[in-house]
Symmetry: C2
Subunit: 221 residues, 2 copies
């Protein structure tokens, strides 16, 4: 059986979970306390990070590389367009969310409010939380600008770029850090992606000590 080592609120794990679910690849989810740097886990991924996917007798790490692998081995339904320029746009936006958005927003809000507590690193740093709350506005505006011109973030078809963005936003929505009223385009986009069957397992996540707000799993939020 395929197995994904993950933590529920990690946007990198969620992106892989969405790809797996969209492609109907069955997988056992195993929660991994990666911060304890257990030796078995470090053997699976010397980078000491989740997600790690066991599939086809292999152990894969790095979420973007895993998603490309799934795309190449399970091409249908496709999460990547065909043309080189369109594929570049998907990859640019995946990097935008996993690098820039992660650095400016996710690490400043989710990591301060949740990860620090879970991993025993103390209380949120209010300077970081403020910076994250400010930066997410700019990112929502950028998404809104893209979605004014395109049906999905990278073009006319849903792609890995949408999953990368939805993975970050859904994790932040779990702690009520997304203002869905800022951009109607972003809200419509999230409503579309949230109602996909692939999203169900993510909406069912529950982290002990951090109950999600009511609207989190509500398709009519």
């Amino acid at each position: 059986m395929n197995r994904l080592y993950h933590v529920p609120l990690s946007p990198f794990c969620r992106k892989v979970r969405l790809s797996l679910a969209e492609k109907r690849i069955e997988v056992d989810l195993v929660e991994e306390r990666y911060w304890e740097r257990d030796l078995d886990f470090m053997r699976r991924n010397p980078a000491g990070k989740v997600p790690v996917l066991k599939i086809d007798g292999r152990t894969l790490s790095e979420s973007a590389a895993i998603c490309e692998y799934l795309e190449e081995t399970h091409p249908e339904p496709s999460l990547m367009p065909k043309g080189a320029a369109e594929r570049h746009e998907v990859r640019r936006l995946v990097a935008w969310f996993d690098d820039k958005f992660h650095h400016e927003v996710t690490s400043k809000l989710l990591y301060e409010r949740v990860n620090k507590k879970i991993t025993g690193q103390g209380y949120p740093d209010s300077t970081n939380v403020k910076a994250g709350a400010k930066a997410i506005k700019y990112h929502l505006d950028y998404m809104g600008w893209l979605l004014e011109q395109r049906r999905w973030l990278a073009g006319d078809a849903m792609s890995l770029a949408d999953f990368a963005a939805a993975a970050h936003l859904s994790s932040l929505d779990y702690i009520s850090d997304v203002d869905w009223n800022r951009s109607p385009h972003v809200k419509d986009w999230y409503a579309k992606i949230k109602s996909r069957p692939a999203f169900r397992s993510i909406l069912a996540d529950a982290v002990p000590g951090f109950p999600p707000p009511q609207h989190y799993a509500d398709l009519d939020f």
Copy 2:
């Protein structure tokens, strides 16, 4: 004419320069003072980062996405293997260097010693420099372990993984921060890659105020 907006010591720009040169794609190099966030530049890449590549009438950003684009539009000579698992290993290692190595080593050494001065952010933080000098040892050992088992970092053929690693190490070698005596496998690997014609422009880089050490451009270092 194709145009690459870059800064000379950026490992992300160097990775793209190596790909372009290996594939014999001619390009004008334009130095970009990205930290000044010039409006024209922000229009080319709203992420405000280099490299940015103008090619085929398009403006591309994000170094890994650019390299995948070049691979798809100029497949020969190939910098990616054919099999999905082998391609995953290349992408995993590109992410290893551009994410983990960058965070633990490059940002702690190169950015403290050079970027801070160039961008007017003051003096190196000695805690960071110490942490970077310690972390690079572990990374060189990991590379040595991989190269004991493989001709190149990701397998038997040279790939984007080697260019990602060589891009970081060459930038650090410019400021004498690589101990080439730590692993004979790593030294042999770097000698092989350094002697490629694609490497010439990188060995000719000169940053005002930061002259490279003598061994930097020496193929017999």
